[in-house]
């Protein structure tokens, strides 16, 4: 029978004119628009909707909101499938597909439930105690077992096709929570003129005012709050967002709000983002997130049908869904009587109200008695009966001795429990707000004197209403207005005349503590007082942790996994620490809470990524020649944020063939390289030379205009981090080339020293990397190719000697031609303004055709520089290598009194002759190429293992030399010339290589000096 548990009328949120059908595990059910998946299932009488994580026990709905620990579903299909969705937050739509989780082969019959029978062997800390020995069992026994058992739900198998986005927003006052307090705080601040944003995680505003009775200014509470909402909605300075949760409160009132834009309506899919992350910076934050009801620990309190009392009221009043036909209420406060009264009014039997207190003089118990309900003070539920659904409860007298005494058994199909309320203090606590213990109301509540603070030291967050520890309607209203006044006043808005309206609600008597209800019977009953439903942590587990010495609440949490599930202990933490405090014989505030970490509930990865996915994941920097290279077969690799061609492949070539062809062509004829990515920084001013003398290890100030010098840059630890050619453009101007990936870092490095250490130096810097395209033309035919272009540049041996440059025009482009070489060939690097880059590139390519020119990529560049023994930053250097280690002492000035790294290089460790130094390696078999990073070994260490004496830094097959070559850093390397070193490669494989000078090709530099 469909909708058997739907009441004939009522249900503030459902639209009975719009029936909706949906499926759970393939079975079709009916609900209404406005239902949640949870309310629709409850209306259909379905409570058993999942199995617990550890013991695979049957579980049902406990709550009605974000705190729900049990009712997790996989929803949607294909790319829109998402696991671990709380059924209480999934809004129903036509065709919704949901699946239950954590069972095999089916919800009804589950193999994992044997864990429950074995539960006495799975105590707290089970993993730590069990999976220790034997060590060999880890790989094949323990780890597969743990992996199989770990995790809730199933990961989606298809890529998410939805879009996500970020919004940046600033407001005076951000109000989190659209209940009575939040609405009044927002209204008060907005009426004073503040720019207000109000966010509410549910799809509707009004909070408990829509559910519970009361009277404000002579109007029924619900009508009154709807009028306030309408006023807010009409205000131009107020932004209201429902389905939006203030998830994270970060430093200085930076708040991340998570908006579920289209989850509730597939018709909205594709028309905009699925989720939106609001990055809000607020003047003041008002935390009005309300409260969360506490469960009570009694034996088998996890059987489907046991629910929070207020959640039952929500289902009844918001969705007209009855939680059962016969409900026993178990509580320690007056508020839970509202549930009993509402249930009775809806035609549900309430056979007993068990109240742990000795009595109550409140209005609500009085009404319940007048309605004829049986109220039993000083009693509680000692255990439930039934397995997949509550069939009854055993009632016990709560004696001072603590020993239970079974009074009677009462049949029922649901239990409403209420152990009091916890204010939602998460947002307030995320960035350091402190709490204090309220011994009257038995709750941790925000301590307004210890709020998190803004950048200027003023309080950042004001709590309001139940989130601040106020439970009575009139207090909530007063506090909401007060928070609005406080926030607006602090920001300089005028709030005079903002008075709280007069409210009337039932007078309530106080709460008394009931953290644990004793039970009798077998041990397997005694250890089933669940605290954390999702992670299956019981009161016995927490007590065991205390006995085993876990006194800190943070340690107990990790040992027992209490509060570590996806609900982050919203229901369990306070109960757990109360039981821990009892076991440790300490007061609750002395035990304290665990840390409240953002986000408040899980938020989607998509919302965090926003639009920064796929092609927008990372910006790609492109040179002017990028598209030409792409069209000619560039095989790209990332270099910093740039894309550079690894090689440029012709039809039918593989990478290896292309690289070999490029190298041989450059060596025998001529090649051209897009070197535009090279960093270019202008350093200018009267003190430019003096500054660069401090920055580089070389002497730079002696460089003549028109000349170039290869120079090294170290940090003050003496370690090399960048290199490049410096050209002096005029008396006061230098152009410093950096590595492709290093331009921004070097520019920032220069600025740091100029501004923070040597501000007296008159010098400016400018990073002009992207202003110029640069083309290297290298090979024996380089000169004739360039000479065949129209231009006014003398490229002859004497006209443009090695390590000099000249300005002029080539092929109609303004150029600066450097005679420098990173390949060892006759080589020119030609810089031209970026706008001319492509036309110059094309002109050179055309002019080079008769000479067989080829564009080459980074791999050919690397191989050719290694053939020449030139170092590459990042290959030969790793942040612990000095210029001396790389035989570059010639580039370290001995004349200068100071430069960055000078003093460090004189430290004993850095002049130790035992350091690793650069050498070349030739493998015994010329076809064997050493792997990058391979270690050379020699002798034995005291433990019998091989002693490592160095490692390979660059290694290639050289097409030029037709054999493998490598560079390596080896202890006392230069003293080992001619020695053969051993490189074990794992397994039985070992390579042997001879130590040689690291210049493999043309050591006399005859080829570049022509």
């Amino acid at each position: 029978m469909a909708d058997a548990f739907r009441t004939a009328d009522g249900g503030a949120l459902i639209d009975r004119s719009r029936p909706v059908s949906f499926t759970l595990n393939g079975k079709t059910y009916r609900g209404y628009a406005g239902d949640t998946l949870a309310s629709a299932l409850i209306a259909n009488g379905v409570h058993f909707v999942g199995r617990s994580f550890k013991y695979h026990r049957p579980r049902g709905f406990v709550a009605s909101g974000v705190e729900e620990p049990n009712a997790l579903f996989g929803t949607g299909v294909g790319p829109r499938f998402e696991p671990n969705q709380r059924g209480t937050m999934v809004e129903l739509y036509e065709g919704l597909t949901a699946k239950t989780q954590n069972h095999f082969p089916s919800l009804e019959y589950d193999i994992g439930s044997v864990n429950a029978m074995m539960s006495r062997f799975f105590p707290a800390g089970f993993y730590y105690k069990t999976f220790i020995q034997p060590r060999v069992a880890w790989k094949h026994v323990f780890e597969p077992f743990i992996r199989q058992a770990a995790g809730l739900g199933k990961a989606p198998t298809e890529a998410d096709d939805a879009e996500y986005e970020h919004f940046h927003y600033m407001c005076d006052v951000l109000v989190s929570g659209g209940g009575v307090a939040g609405i009044l705080a927002a209204l008060t601040a907005a009426r004073a003129g503040a720019r207000v944003m109000l966010v509410e995680q549910n799809a509707w505003l009004g909070g408990r005012a829509i559910v519970d009775e009361g009277e404000v200014d002579g109007q029924p509470l619900g009508d009154w709050v709807r009028a306030r909402i309408a006023e807010l909605e009409a205000m131009p300075n107020v932004l209201i967002r429902t389905r939006t949760q203030a998830s994270c409160h970060e430093d200085h009132n930076y708040v991340l709000c998570y908006e579920r834009v289209s989850d509730h309506d597939p018709d909205l899919y594709g028309g905009g983002p699925r989720h939106r992350l609001w990055r809000v910076r607020a003047g003041r934050v008002i935390a009005a997130g309300g409260g969360i009801e506490r469960p009570i620990a009694f034996a088998k309190n996890d059987v489907p049908g046991v629910m929070l009392a207020a959640a039952m009221r929500d289902y009844l009043k918001l969705y007209a869904a009855k939680p059962g036909d016969r409900v026993v209420v178990y509580a320690n406060n007056d508020d839970a009587y509202r549930t009993a009264i509402d249930l009775r009014n809806a035609g549900v039997e309430v056979p007993a109200i068990l109240d742990a207190r000795e009595g109550s003089n409140g209005d609500l118990p009085q009404i319940a008695r007048e309605m004829g309900m049986r109220t039993m003070f000083g009693s509680g539920v000692s255990k439930t009966l039934g397995r997949k659904r509550v069939e009854g409860v055993e009632i016990t007298e709560l004696r001072p001795s603590g020993r239970p005494g079974a009074l009677e058994t009462v049949a029922c199909d649901a239990v409403a429990m209420s152990g009091g309320w916890n204010p939602v203090v998460h947002l307030y606590s995320h960035s350091g707000g402190k709490l204090s213990w309220d011994d009257d109301q038995l709750m941790f509540r925000p301590d307004p004197s210890r709020s998190p603070i803004r950048h200027d030291g003023a309080p950042a967050v004001v709590c309001a209403g139940t989130a601040s520890g106020h439970l009575a309607l009139s207090d909530v209203i007063t506090d909401g207005v007060k928070a609005g006044v406080e926030a607006a006043d602090a920001l300089g808005f005028e709030t005079s005349g903002a008075d709280a309206p007069a409210a009337k609600s039932a007078r309530e008597d106080g709460i008394s503590a009931i953290w644990f209800t004793p039970s009798s019977g077998k041990l397997s009953v005694g250890n089933k007082h669940f605290l954390d439903f999702q992670n299956d942590v019981t009161a016995a587990d927490v007590e065991l942790a205390a006995r085993e010495g876990y006194e800190s609440v943070e340690h107990t949490k990790r040992y027992t996994t209490l509060g570590m599930a996806t609900d982050q202990g919203k229901l369990s933490n306070i109960n757990g620490l109360a039981i821990l405090a009892d076991a440790l014989r300490k007061p609750i505030p002395a035990v304290g809470t665990t840390t409240f970490r953002p986000p408040y509930t899980p938020i989607s990865f998509g919302s965090i990524a926003g639009r920064e996915t796929r092609e927008l994941f990372k910006v790609v920097r492109k040179t002017p020649m990028h598209d030409w290279l792409a069209a000619h077969g560039a095989d790209w690799e990332p270099v910093g944020d740039w894309r550079r061609p690894y090689c440029i492949r012709k039809d039918g070539e593989d990478r290896h063939q292309a690289v070999e062809r490029e190298i041989l062509t450059a060596r025998e004829k001529v090649g051209m390289l897009d070197a535009s990515t090279l960093g270019k920084i202008i350093v200018k001013g009267p003190d430019a030379g003096a500054f660069l003398d401090l920055l580089y290890t070389n002497m730079i100030s002696t460089l003549k205009p028109g000349r170039c010098r290869y120079a090294l840059m170290c940090n003050d630890n003496g370690f090399l981090f960048d290199d490049g050619v410096v050209a002096r453009l005029d008396e006061q101007t230098f152009l410093c080339h950096t590595t492709s990936g290093g331009a921004d870092r070097v520019h920032a490095w220069m600025e740091e020293w100029i501004q923070t250490e040597w501000p007296h130096l008159k010098v400016f810097t400018a990073n002009v990397t992207e202003e110029y395209a640069q083309i290297a033309v290298a090979g024996p035919k380089a000169r004739v190719v360039l000479e065949s272009l129209e231009g006014d540049v003398d490229l002859s041996t004497d006209g443009l000697p090695f390590m000099s440059y000249v300005d002029g025009t080539l092929a109609g482009c303004p150029v600066r031609v450097y005679r420098i070489s990173f390949s060892g060939e006759l080589s020119y690097e030609i810089a031209t303004p970026a706008a001319f880059g492509l036309s110059l590139w094309k002109a050179i390519f055309e002019a080079g055709q008769p000479f067989g020119i080829t564009p080459y990529g980074t791999e050919a560049l690397h191989v050719m520089r290694a053939e020449k023994g030139f170092i590459m930053i990042g290959d030969e250097t790793d942040g612990t290598v000095t210029p001396h280690d790389l035989n570059l002492s010639w580039a370290v000035s001995k004349k200068k009194t100071d430069f960055i790294g000078k003093k460090a290089m004189e430290r004993p460790f850095l002049i130790d002759p035992d350091r690793k130094r650069l050498v070349g390696l030739l493998t015994e078999n010329p076809e064997d190429v050493l792997p990058d990073g391979a270690h050379a070994v020699e002798g034995e260490r005291p433990n019998g293992k091989a002693k490592m004496i160095g490692h390979v830094t660059s290694t290639y097959y050289s097409p030029t030399l037709k054999r493998s070559i490598a560079m390596a850093l080896i202890r006392r390397g230069p003293e080992r010339m001619g020695e053969t070193l051993t490189f074990p490669l794992g397994g039985d494989r070992t390579l042997r290589a001879k130590v040689v000078e690291p210049t493999f090709y043309d050591p006399e530099n005859a080829r570049q000096n022509v």
């Binding site: 430093d251 200085h252 910076r281 950048h455 003050d716 600025e751 740091e752 501004q755 923070t756 501000p759």
Partner: protein
């Protein structure tokens, strides 16, 4: 995410617009006249106070200037920003710090 103010261009902006530069007012003791101990102190030894930290920031994605900030590592309160060439915080910032230290009872020595 912190809110910081650049004392040069006057902009108050999100932390992501700035680049952190560690402890402020470190003297570069890297000359021949400096002992190994002084050199070590300059290179490696840094304060890690639970309290007021004087630190350097650069307005990386703004005007590009380096500046100093006095910030409390416990509460993240920013007492103020000041020019990079200053040898210590200006009196106004020192007064603000002193007032807060008096309120919180934090010992003076945690100021670097």
């Amino acid at each position: 995410m912190l809110l910081l103010t650049c004392p040069y261009c006057g902009v108050t902006a999100e932390e992501t617009e700035f680049h952190p530069g560690g402890q402020a007012h470190i003297e570069r003791k890297a000359g021949t006249e400096h002992s190994d101990a002084e050199f070590e102190e300059y290179l490696f030894l840094r304060n890690n106070p639970k309290g007021v930290h004087l630190e350097r920031w650069r307005h990386q994605y703004g005007c590009g200037k380096w500046f100093n900030v006095a910030r409390d590592t416990r509460t993240l309160e920013v007492y103020g920003s000041y020019e990079i060439e200053a040898k210590e915080p200006p009196q106004e910032i020192k007064d603000r710090i002193a007032q807060r230290l008096a309120e919180t009872g934090l010992p003076e020595k945690t100021v670097n």
